[in-house]
Symmetry: C2
Subunit: 205 residues, 2 copies
């Protein structure tokens, strides 16, 4: 991506360096592909900086993220960059069981698992356990009302230190988008499934 | 990402398996962040499949992609997944020297370097050197007319074997988008630079 001059310099009392290193809340939302892959791409940069990385996977199925998980585990164990901790919440969740794209999965345990995952994230933020948090698919539990969006916004606003947080998922709630620093909407222009092609290894997982 | 049933099953004479494993041309375009990071996230999946990966970096500056490059080199050398070959074309190119966002850099050598890079990609496609090609920022030389878009479309259409190709960059030309299998438009909703914050390490590079 190009670098250049910011469009406006705010009157916030910060030096350019302080402003530059202000930790970010990043949101990848929209109906297109690339929300999570871009988050894991960011994790490569964080790894290269030697940052501890925490991945919290809020939606799980047998195949998804296996490539990302294995790659990040190999990187974390290499000793050449940051560490990687990979948390899977809600083992056994599956989009496949969903009745429809935006409907809640019908497993009543999922709401509780999502809340437990968020409680873990809160503890880690308070303890400054990681420098980059990838909250993968975390937009969904907020969208479904399982985790309170206003609380998430407030916790992120008050998080200590230099912790960057990336949230992915469709339907990112408006208060989260409003409070985030960097928001990208991945829009679907074209998808192979529209042409009758199912997902394949190496591409979808 | 959710998996499910395709919207339509085409009458193309292929079995589901054949259609499923049909290699893809993927385009990440738009003005938002995440185009390249999502491409490198895809590379993690390809690596996990043991696929040889070829990265062709069509725009270069001192800091960009250093994290991705180092991570992918460590992964490629780990022996636990696919190999990684990283090609930098146009060493010394820099967005910073650009007069404006969509204008051509004023270095006349760049067009020739881009063409040389594309010739290398063509040779590798013909030889089936890689299974995944990341043509990073390759949309620009097409947009600027340095590389002929129609030729690119034709070469991609006729590429042999099971080679997947990802092209990133703003202003992806319409013929490329039309011929691609999977296209995502990364739209900018909000960027820290709008609030006076410059790029920072671990996030932008």
């Amino acid at each position: 991506m190009p670098k250049g001059q910011p469009a406006a310099v705010p009157d916030d009392g910060l030096t350019t360096r302080q402003r530059r290193n202000r930790p970010l809340v990043v949101v990848h939302t929209g109906t297109g592909k690339g929300k999570s892959t871009a988050a894991f791409g960011l994790a490569l940069r964080a790894w290269n900086q030697g940052w501890p990385i925490g991945v919290f996977q809020f939606v799980k199925s047998a195949k998804w993220r296996v490539g990302e998980e294995r790659a990040l585990r190999v990187l974390g164990a290499s000793g050449e960059g940051g560490t990687v901790a990979w948390h899977k919440m809600g083992e056994g969740w599956s989009w496949i069981q969903r009745p429809a794209k935006d409907a809640e999965p019908d497993n009543p345990d999922n709401a509780e698992k999502a809340r437990q995952g968020w409680e873990q994230v809160k503890r880690d933020l308070a303890a400054q356990t990681y420098r980059l948090y990838v909250l993968d698919e975390f937009a969904y539990p907020m969208h479904w009302g399982w985790v309170d969006t206003d609380e998430v916004v407030e916790v992120l606003r008050q998080r200590p230190g230099g912790q960057h947080v990336v949230v992915t998922g469709r339907n990112a709630p408006a208060p989260l988008v409003e409070s985030a620093d960097l928001v990208t909407e991945m829009g679907k222009v074209k998808h192979p499934m529209d042409a009758g092609q199912k997902g394949q290894r190496g591409i979808e997982w």
